[in-house]
């Protein structure tokens, strides 16, 4: 473990010494590589059992979910077990306004989904965020299930038949990109399978992956801005000690509500992406078990670390697709994983720097106290 840490640390130090332009170029290359993953189909990463583009789309979509839920759980410290409810509301907003009751274009549907989920986040949060933290978990769990039950039972949402013919983003067909296929470690250009640059269709998930990935980067940037602002500090203070924060003049309730609504909006955005990719949604897509999957992503990744939760989201989505034998038992494994992490590594696989810092400060404090004790 230590060796691995030192290795990454030395890499970080060496990268830090590079000139600014070289760092930017390097980052640009990494981002480009991530965009090109479904074209390159790297040997080990590629899932053999299922379409790699679709798997990557899921990874990107769940990354969005994890970033959103991380704001609620990681930054504000509110355990939300009904996140799938917001995801469903986002998806259904797109479905209802795009196909079932109106035919708006997607460019209007996505903002609509964000606004509607944000409002529903405020509506759920305003009464419930005043209750104790552990009650909140149960109330949100109930909320997630209510959303599904309403979707199933209401004729207005087409009940269990669901909504089909959900609009896709507008296509601009410019050129074809051939994929690369591998035999062992030699690469071939596969001219048979091509992706038309920005043609959104059922058969090819790659453009959806690009679209969602772009959204992931935008949301990550906004997330970074928020966390490093007054808002982020207010969240941190509220999470660590609500009473103290309130005494220092932080309106904790308002900031908790803001976290809840922001998280909900991002959930709605990912739901919208899900709807437009699938083009068909029904209530079975939004069962409560996904809420737990989302919580698992945040907890496994390290609550409060945006890169950690993205890593966990990708890992927990990709692994069951890559290793098909995991697919059946994956919720069982996630359950065990959550329990094991809570016991052995509650800060998650990649904890945020703050936690590391706080832990070190705490250790120093106890050391000083113990020394003082010895002197006395």
């Amino acid at each position: 473990m230590n060796a691995v840490r030192n290795f990454f640390h030395s890499i970080r130090v060496r990268l830090g010494k590079l000139p600014r332009w070289a760092q930017l170029v390097l980052w640009g290359l990494v981002v480009l590589l991530v965009y090109l993953l479904p074209i390159i189909n790297p040997p080990f990463l590629t899932t053999t059992g299922s379409d790699f583009g679709a798997v990557l789309f899921s990874c990107a979509m769940y990354s969005l979910v994890a970033i959103g839920l991380n704001i609620v759980i990681g930054y504000a410290g509110l355990l939300d077990l009904g996140y799938i409810g917001f995801f469903a509301i986002g998806a259904y907003t797109v479905g209802m306004l795009g196909s079932a009751h109106a035919t708006l274009p997607l460019i209007l549907l996505v903002p609509a989904a964000i606004v509607v989920t944000m409002i529903s986040g405020v509506l759920l949060g305003a009464p419930t965020l005043r209750v104790r933290g552990d009650y909140l978990a149960i109330v949100t769990l109930g909320f997630g299930e209510i959303v599904r039950l309403v979707l199933v039972n209401s004729g207005w949402t087409n009940g269990s038949r669901g909504i089909s013919n959900i609009p896709t983003p507008p296509s601009i067909e410019l050129f074809d990109i051939p994929h690369i296929s591998w035999q062992g470690l030699t690469a071939f250009v596969d001219l048979e399978t091509t992706t038309t640059f920005l043609k959104f269709s059922v058969t090819d998930s790659v453009p959806y992956y690009w679209l969602t990935l772009t959204l992931v980067f935008i949301v990550l940037f906004l997330d970074w801005l928020m966390q490093n602002s007054r808002v982020g500090r207010a969240w941190e203070a509220t999470r660590e000690d609500e009473d103290a924060a309130e005494l220092m003049g932080v309106p904790t309730f308002r900031f908790k509500l803001l976290a809840f609504a922001t998280g909900a909006a991002i959930g709605g955005l990912s739901g919208a992406m899900f709807a437009t990719k699938q083009q068909f949604i029904n209530p079975e897509n939004f069962t409560i078990i996904y809420s737990v999957l989302f919580v698992a992503m945040v907890v496994v990744g390290g609550q409060g670390n945006r890169w950690g939760v993205v890593f966990a989201a990708v890992l927990l989505t990709w692994a069951p697709e890559k290793f098909r034998f995991l697919a059946d038992g994956r919720f069982f494994l996630f359950g065990i994983l959550l329990m094991a992490l809570a016991i052995f590594r509650p800060q998650g696989l990649i904890p945020p720097k703050r936690t590391v810092r706080a832990r070190k400060a705490e250790e120093e404090e106890t050391e000083i106290l113990e020394e003082g004790h010895a002197h006395a």
Partner: protein, 327 residues
């Protein structure tokens, strides 16, 4: 509205019967909350495993149509099997998911996450129960296990009979069995907590853990005992649930768990008599609700009730006090 008025007594009695199930499961939430200040999220799976144990035990003894003395025998077997397995699962849960965290003084959020993990692991384990058959060449057991993701019916069949009328509704023998056995369990538990030495220990730890420890009470033992009692009650509830509903499945615990938790909060979490009252109130209220709005909205009514209580009276009907229940 007419439905509610015409069937008022039927809705009330059947509501009380299902409410008894909620009440017994709610005990597990409320007692653990009393001594540990922790929502025992995985308690619903304790209930679910108990229901499977009852079904399998009755399959093993070849239960079928029964009445009279034979029925009594089958009921005893079902109850004992469910209560034993539920108690074992509850103890295992305490040992694996909660005790390591207690030793580390983890924050409540982490304990809740561990509980959620345990809950899903237990529920999914039941959902995957046919997997090991292939590994150990036990394919002939497949019929016995039922399809893992579908309903498993109770083999015991009881002829529904009207026993005595209450206004315009005839109370059936099943309602009567469920209600009577629930009341027996409740009275035994209530007296145990109020009068016995062990019950006094539980109340002492709930009231003030440190003072209780100073008075020579072994906190770990009290916690184990609390989980044991919660498990036994959940097992009894599981058998009653089977009598009333007739089938169980791997995720049967989820909805029932949220409802039982609602019942516990409704009565005042940590308060034993409150949980019992809350269970009955919830059972009846959701029956009235389903008569008013249609039965597909039954679960929604229960969830909304939970939100409303938390908003307007978070301490519940009887207040939060396991410790204050005096002998």
């Amino acid at each position: 509205m007419d439905l509610l008025i015409n069937h008022f007594w039927e809705l009330t009695i059947t509501g009380l019967a299902i409410g008894a199930v909620y009440a017994l499961v709610a005990l597990g939430y409320t007692m653990v909350y009393g001594v540990l200040r922790l929502i025992n999220f995985a308690h619903s799976e304790v209930f679910m495993w108990g229901s499977f144990a009852a079904v399998w035990a009755l399959m093993a003894v070849g239960a079928g149509k029964a009445s009279g003395l034979g029925l009594a025998g089958y009921l005893v077997i079902g109850f004992v099997a469910a209560m034993t397995v539920s108690a074992l699962i509850a103890m295992l849960l305490e040992r694996v998911a909660y005790r390591p965290l207690r030793k580390r003084n983890s924050p409540p959020l982490i304990a809740l996450i561990s509980a959620i993990g345990a809950s899903f692991a237990l529920s999914e384990l039941m959902g995957l129960r046919d997997k090991p058959l292939g590994w150990f060449n036990l394919e002939n057991l497949r019929d016995y296990l039922g399809r893992p993701r579908e309903n498993l019916p109770l083999p015991l069949q009881i002829q529904t009979k009207a026993v005595f009328p209450v206004f315009n509704y005839d109370v059936t023998n099943i309602d009567l069995i469920v209600l009577l056995s629930a009341i027996v369990m409740m009275v035994i538990l209530d007296q145990f907590i109020r009068r016995s030495r062990l019950g006094r220990g539980i109340r002492a730890v709930a009231m003030d853990p440190e003072a209780a420890a100073l008075m020579g009470i072994n906190r770990d033992r009290v916690i184990r005992l609390t989980f044991l009692i919660g498990g036994i009650m959940a097992g009894a509830a599981a058998m009653m649930y089977l009598l009333k509903i007739g089938v169980t499945r791997y995720n049967a615990g989820f909805i029932l768990g949220v409802k039982a938790f609602t019942a516990a909060v409704l009565g005042g979490i940590g308060n034993i008599r409150g949980a019992l009252l809350g269970g009955f109130v919830l059972g009846v209220a959701e029956n009235y609700g389903s008569a008013l709005f249609g039965s597909q909205w039954k679960d929604v009514v229960a969830f909304l009730l939970l939100v409303v209580i938390l908003l307007f009276r978070p301490t519940g009907l009887l207040g939060e006090s396991l410790g204050k229940a005096r002998a």
